[in-house]
Symmetry: C2
Subunit: 259 residues, 2 copies
């Protein structure tokens, strides 16, 4: 196979494609081409990466590695429309199995960085977990080295494990952020600024950086304080969604800690 | 009223009493006495604070300020049993109203530090929000100065606002920690270490340090990706509590963002 640094064609121009492309570029890999079905996006990202833009999948250049970083639902069709043979193709999705490549006459793998990306915020790549899956041992080594070359941390995990991680990430990131949103809505209702919660949120997070969350649980439900739980639930009557979420999570915590 | 530094009697020896006592002591206030109904606890905390221990509420020394930091449910009875007159008494609870002091012949207030405390971990007091309530203007100034003297940040809020903050804190801290616990349970089931989620959790938190959470929402429910939501929900069949929580929060996010 190939040696690092690699010549790479980047297929996609979304949040993950952008941040991964920028980091690969900054780590001395050569992004030779950027594909997007919207040419303006390919041109925009291409200019940042010193890469040729294209909106034509039949026009892909010869490269060591093709990184496909597009929305999950268009991934199967896009792979069908790639007319390469004997090349190395990887996708970056948490929830799409390796077998999406089953009919592809190429060496294939998955390279899923477990982080929430946005176009404008540079993520901290240091020790960022990258879930790697491939049935090709040589590619496995290459993808591990690729992860290390961008200071990330490779984990070898199969599709089933990656799917579990994706669900876990929904709870750990999307749902915890939604808990902050509910908190902010409750505060807004009483003219209190969100900033008042920030030290508590950071402290809660710092605790699970060193400990397991089940050992760090606190609060009325953990203490089994049903009178506070009832008071809180009654005060949430102004929003039945929030009230229902409060009741359900409190009950689950009571159940878990058998109080 | 009095000038800072103050002579203080600390009533209570739990997590908050311990950390607040240590910080007040380190900030040149004099903790002259520590009360706990369990004398061993009073002796233990007293030795850290260079304070006389007592388990007798009739034995409280003369002080500028009496800080009552005990469990919410014993607060009313404890206040009844304090036989002081013309003194300054405050409690530190998020969910108990100022009117718990209604029959007390003293100047009274609330001084609620919005943080999750544990005995062993020193919190970051810098800019830590402290919710202050009192109907006495002089005491209000004193409590603001007391907060500032320990590098914290005073907020003047009434009992209704403090109750809202307490509910908001349950979502922002207790429930987000529980989301991490669910995530870890999902990972454990597939032999994946919790550490793999830590960078994502920290990134999610850092985003809301600078932005509002409703602007930072991501994930399948936010995108309206019902096919991923259904897949995730099906994979959670092994734990109906978690499945129900997944469905309810996903639905709430779909509702909120009208997708």
């Amino acid at each position: 196979m190939y040696n690092i640094p690699l010549n790479i064609v980047l297929i996609g121009s979304g949040n993950l494609a952008t941040q991964l492309g920028l980091k690969l570029h900054a780590s001395n890999h050569k992004i030779i081409q950027v594909f997007s079905k919207t040419i303006a996006n390919a041109i925009k990202l291409g200019s940042l990466l010193n890469a040729t833009p294209t909106d034509n999948l039949r026009d892909l250049k010869d490269a060591d590695l093709y990184i496909i970083s597009v929305k999950d639902d268009i991934l199967p069709d896009l792979i069908k429309n790639i007319s390469l043979t004997g090349k190395v193709l990887i996708h970056t999705s948490g929830s799409v199995n390796l077998d999406v490549f089953n009919l592809s006459p190429n060496t294939v793998g998955v390279f899923y960085p477990l982080q929430s990306f946005s176009k404008l915020k540079t993520p901290n790549w240091e020790a960022l977990p990258i879930c790697i899956e491939t049935s090709n041992k040589e590619l496995e080594v290459l993808l591990c080295n690729l992860a290390i070359s961008i200071t990330a941390k490779p984990y070898l995990l199969d599709s089933q494990q990656r799917r579990a991680i994706h669900i876990a990430a929904v709870f750990a990131s999307n749902f915890s952020n939604y808990m902050y949103t509910i908190a902010n809505d409750i505060l807004k209702d009483k003219d209190i600024p969100f900033e008042i919660l920030r030290p508590l949120i950071m402290e809660t997070t710092q605790k699970v950086m060193m400990n397991l969350p089940e050992e760090m649980q606190t609060g009325p439900a953990y203490r089994g304080d049903k009178s506070i739980i009832n008071n809180h639930s009654n005060e949430l009557a102004f929003n039945t969604n929030y009230q229902e979420i409060y009741n359900l999570i409190s009950k689950a915590i009571l159940d878990k800690y058998k109080i």
